[in-house]
Symmetry: C2
Subunit: 751 residues, 2 copies
């Protein structure tokens, strides 16, 4: 772990540096689960590092800035624009890749098995069809799971990890090329394998990796790929590009460029920066329209038209009742939406609760190195899912009239045809079809489309059964070691529930409502109850529907769902972040904390003894500046020092690009050959330290410290007293909720 | 002006406080224009104050926080939600009020005069019709202008002022109830009076005033209206509510709740705060849907449906070519959009340049107190506008076939009828109509609708003439002393130009394009060239079109227009802010500034001598905390002091609500009866000062200081040296671009 040292005077003897404690290698850090007994005792793990959003303004950087004239600055700006465009396009192409192969494999699978079922329904060889489906799914899921074995951080949706990264926590391996490859290929096979997972969450992670990797022009996985491109070698720049990439991922997944931008801001942004936001939006737009361009071209053969915005789109909501227009929703419906929000919040909380228990069960009983067991679990999930799909389709469906499909509200011919071709007739004859099979025996996006746009074609029993099965299966699946998104399963769960409500209201209470809207609101409610995102989810859903009038109902539903759910537990991503022990910083300190403001020495008490051993010997120390361990090691490796009898001017100088060359993997202290170090040599660190980082005084109150740290994206915040002596250092760990609660408890005990 | 004092020790003798310099009354500050000679010499005026977004954490506040348990905090939060809802609804109702009366007056006027023209075209009494129109318009504009005489800050769009406010500058009178009444009524009459102004900009200002006033439950204009409501008496809370109100204004004006939220963030937000953003979006949604609900009810008599999102909406873009669907735009069109962006940027820059010269001419030649001249100017503008409208309609129009109106793309029957009823036939017979009159002799919103949605009904000559006339007239009008928005005139200008391009491409080059899209892109290009807003304008326009596929073309056009325009001058709002001498802080320091980082004493050099006289005598001073002049005056007025021979514990204590009771108009030092002050009494200010505000060290580099100041929304930033002595204070004025440039120039001269 890179530790920070307060520099005790301008220069520091070489020997001191080597006396510091052990560092863990990144590999050790990837072990994500540790056996813990009680759920409340999961504390943030100390081995996560912070990203440094603040610039270290030392002499090498100043030299670079000196040489920066208007022209160069403009060029630098132009490069940034080109890069965000490239990130957007690459993310769009990634989405295209995933979409293309998922489509290919899924179509292949369903046409093969569907045909077999149609035939077997006459011959009675259904077991054969089931085996066929099972074999295909198992192969796909096996590939997907093996990929996750290669790179464990590729599991899950990756949104928790990206959220942590944007919050300022460095999670090892999370933005590496290898992770990208495993994630993209893995999710493709997981979706093709019929698991109840979406490809949207992983798109966000993929976009973020593209954002992190592309501007570096190098890769840790392939060490050979390396250009001389000295820009953007800092956490600050990297995080900006990761924001852009994550936004592009959302944009590509949902066709929601504004929602993507807001997602980046909501999850990450420390301070709102106009120029950055504008670039992020451009990146998102590029991603959406790259995907749109190619998909419209490939799927409809209409190159140059733009008809398919995102991987997931909700189709066009248009309420037509006979010849006259009807309303998508009216003011009266809002009351039902509020109730559905409450229901969504409750069900979401239940989902999260079950999922958390499962995750903890896994952590307790399966050692993270026991990858074989995890592989087996994925195969088991795959088997059960396949069985559920097959058995439910074959036995639990109802035959419904096909008449209503003509009332299909979509005006785009191609989509219409697609919907018709996805109707499943399993055992239903005479112009009827099997409603359960139509939902289960299709890609999930198609099922969502049908719930949103088909008129009165699903029986209430089917919808309820579908919801229950989907709920539990997707709850089990999220956490299995395959790349897996949660958006689409949640939307599908919620949509079936919303559709059920609509059916009941229409048939039992004879209300004049539009079923599609209720399905949409149900989807929003459940998704909101599970993920508890606020503004970004609202905007993503509005953009997906491409109908601004849905703004109010969606927002109200999400608000109610979030508030209801928050009463019981946190959002699913926050739960998983918590389980991983990531020291996430919230938006604000709690009111409780605010109250306990003025106890001085809250942090400094513990910091010196726990964090540094070096300074203890020299106390009291005047604060001169801040230098990172990585910088010190770099100086030692490069032999930046001078002999005792010489002047410090004879010390060799490193340029900024030499200092940042190895970013982000700086050499470790153990890489240093200690035998080469001459104890009589002195290192003058003054030119390389940050002479005036932000500091606070010892009795600054908590909320102010928190705000400064959070907003400026700091990694270390020195506490300097009235006479300029350093009395402590605040890091991310001192500001996590858990730490503060523990501190305050301790404080009360001592009183 | 409220000055800040660094507290020299815990307590301060009463006498010292009274020795400070003169303060200006707010009335003096409202004189907005001062005579200046050279355009580059407009420096930020020193008499603007900063808002204080940072909390002063003194003992009274801590007492309040102590008493704040979870339940109370939840109640406080609930009040906030209710308030933002109320702000949204009120803003929506304000929009409804303006819209209703503008419609009423405009319909009255046009039906009256239109009828007269139809009759007179046979009798040859056109002069009479002209006089009728002139009389009506003059009366309306006279009322509007008189209202601005009553409250001068109600002039213009108010966006410059709100932008300044959100940036952290307190502009006197800008959020007062009187301003609200004058603005709302004024804009109503200005629009009804046929001036080339929009009602959208003033909506934003109105919303902001609602946001500022409603949570205070009191009004400076009506001093009697005052409830016991002790919450939100701080700049911090007020600014949050103003953000929400401004967003609601945008949302009501354009039916763009997300755009409104982004507008608030783009213009104001220091640090992105999730909870705040979520509330702002809710406020915007409330505004949009309140307006929508009542307008749909009143105009269509369909209560409970939501069909008219904003005051201005662009109608539905749907490209139908015969029976088959065509594309709104294709990839090829993007090239034209880029060119149109360049053109829009150039024309926008020209517009801004002319408008700036006019504004400066006014400032130089018309004394701000000479209100009569300003009234005359508005009447003159009104007269010329009326003449232009009338003469152009009657003489310059071309007769075009009415056939094409059946191709009208709007599917909403009601809108369709409306469009048909707005066709003007002036002197055109046999199923033809006058195209110029149709554009000029209608409300501007209707003209925009026609340019966006009518197929091939305007001759190129008409469009060009219309553009030229509108360009110059609206350029002259923006700056006249009436409340006036700039969005609608700019959109109309741009739309005519875009339509012209479409006509040329269609007729001369036989391209298959959709005219409506080109009109929209033209409108975006010109508006972008004039106002130079980035992300918020993009989103506002996307939301207004309710068509997510327009995202990319709109964004690219706006980007190109902004870059082209920025080559020549600033956006119109920034120009007016600059002319008013408001010390606005940009988003970032320039690269040039970054370079000149490490010169210590950049600020401290000037601060002590210019800013404070008190501390000079006591130098060197240990820094103990910060107390505001207003707080000191409050202490003195309340008699918070103790005798020399007593202990400081005998000093009376003020609670937080007593300290903030008079917000935002704290008593002036001159309100204090000096005779009552006993020089033997001592004031202990320790409990009331902020003991640990953010501070910086003297050699902190510029960009860091700027970031801290800008992001945290500070008003004062003490510079404290390594041994805890205060060596200077940084205020907003020390960080303005102009000040920094001057400082650096001075620095180079001394070298």
């Amino acid at each position: 772990m890179l530790k920070m040292m307060a520099c005790c005077g301008g220069c520091l003897c070489c020997q001191c540096c080597c006396n510091e404690g052990e560092t863990r290698t990144p590999e050790e850090l990837t072990i994500l689960g540790e056996t813990r007994e009680d759920e409340d005792e999961i504390l943030p793990r100390k081995d996560y590092e912070s990203l440094d959003y603040d610039r270290c303004i030392n002499e090498p950087l100043l030299e670079v800035l000196e040489g920066l004239d208007k022209k160069k600055a403009r060029r630098y700006e132009a490069i940034k624009w080109i890069l965000v465009f490239a990130i957007g396009v690459s993310t769009g192409l990634t989405g295209l890749f995933v979409d293309f192969f998922v489509r290919l494999f899924t179509q292949l699978k369903f046409s093969l098995v569907g045909q077999s079922v149609e035939e077997c329904s006459e011959n009675g060889c259904l077991a054969l069809s089931l085996l066929e489906l099972l074999a295909l799914n198992m192969v796909f899921v096996f590939i997907s799971s093996v990929l996750v074995l290669i790179e464990p951080v590729a599991a899950g949706s990756g949104i928790s990890e990206i959220k942590s990264y944007l919050n300022g926590v460095k999670i090892p391996g999370i933005v590496r090329l290898r992770t990208f490859i495993c994630k993209v290929t893995g999710v493709l096979f997981a979706v093709a394998g019929g698991l109840f997972v979406g490809k949207e969450g992983p798109m966000i992670h993929s976009g973020a990796i593209v954002g992190a990797g592309l501007p570096q022009f190098q890769s840790i996985t392939f060490k050979k790929i390396r250009f001389h491109f000295p820009y953007f070698r800092s956490d600050r720049d990297k995080r900006d590009f990761v924001s852009a990439g994550a936004a592009a991922g959302v944009a590509a997944a949902f066709g929601a460029p504004i929602g993507g931008t807001l997602f980046s801001l909501e999850e990450g942004s420390s301070f709102w920066n106009q120029a950055l936001t504008w670039k992020v939006l451009f990146c998102s737009m590029s991603a959406t329209f790259t995907l749109n361009f190619f998909r419209s071209g490939i799927n409809f053969n209409k190159w140059g038209s733009f008809q398919l915005p995102g991987l997931l789109n909700f189709g066009e909501f248009k309420c037509v009742d006979g010849d006259k227009m009807c309303h998508l929703w009216t003011a009266v419906d809002l009351a039902f939406f509020v109730l559905m929000g409450v229901a969504g919040g409750l069900l979401g909380a239940l989902f999260n609760c079950i999922n958390k228990r499962l995750a903890k069960y896994r952590m307790r009983n399966v050692h993270p190195k026991a990858r074989f067991i995890r592989l087996l679990e994925s195969l088991l999930v795959c088997m059960v899912t396949t069985l559920v799909i097959f058995v439910a389709s074959v036995t639990l469906g109802e035959c419904r009239d096909l008449v209503s499909t003509n009332n299909n509200t979509s005006t785009q011919g191609s989509v219409n045809e697609e919907v018709n071709s996805t109707i499943r007739r399993f055992f239903c004859y005479n112009n009827t079809y099997n409603d359960m099979a139509t939902l289960f025996f299709n890609p999930q996006e198609v099922a969502i489309h049908q719930l949103f746009h088909q008129n009165a074609t699903f029986s209430p029993v089917t919808l309820l059964l579908f919801f229950v099965l989907y709920f539990f299966m997707s709850c089990w699946t999220y956490g299995v070691s395959v790349p897996s998104g949660l958006f689409v399963p949640s939307l599908l769960c919620g949509a079936s529930l919303g559709r059920l409500v609509a059916n009941v209201l229409k048939i039992n209470f004879h209300m004049q409502i539009y079923s599609g809207t209720f399905a949409l609101i149900g989807a929003a409610a459940f998704l909101g109850g599970v993920v508890r995102m606020t503004i970004s989810l609202t905007v993503i859903l509005i953009e997906s529907t491409n109908e601004i009038t849905y703004g109010l109902p969606i927002m109200i539903t999400l608000m109610v769902a979030k508030w209801t759910g928050d009463f019981f537990n946190k959002g699913i991503y926050d739960i998983h972040i918590h389980l991983k022990g990531v020291p996430l910083l919230e938006w604000e300190t709690e009111v409780e904390m605010d109250k306990h403001v003025p106890y001085p020495n809250l942090y400094p008490d513990q910091s010196p003894s726990e964090e540094w051993t070096l300074e203890e010997r020299f106390r009291p120390l005047t604060f001169h500046g801040l230098i990172l361990r990585s910088q010190l090691v770099n100086l030692l490796i490069c032999g930046v020092c001078y002999a005792e009898n010489q002047s410090s001017a004879s010390q060799p100088r490193l340029s900024h690009s030499e200092m940042t060359e190895d970013y982000p993997r700086f050499p470790d202290i153990h890489d240093l050959d200690l035998a080469l170090l001459n104890p009589r040599m002195i290192v003058d660190v003054t030119p390389y330290m940050n002479p005036c980082p932000y500091t606070v005084s010892p009795n600054t109150c908590l909320s102010q410290v928190f705000n400064l740290f959070r907003t400026m994206g700091l990694r270390h915040l020195p506490v300097v007293n009235a006479v300029g002596e350093i009395v402590g250092i605040i890091t991310r760990h001192n500001l996590t909720h858990e730490f503060l609660v523990a501190k305050l408890r301790q404080h009360y005990i001592t009183i």
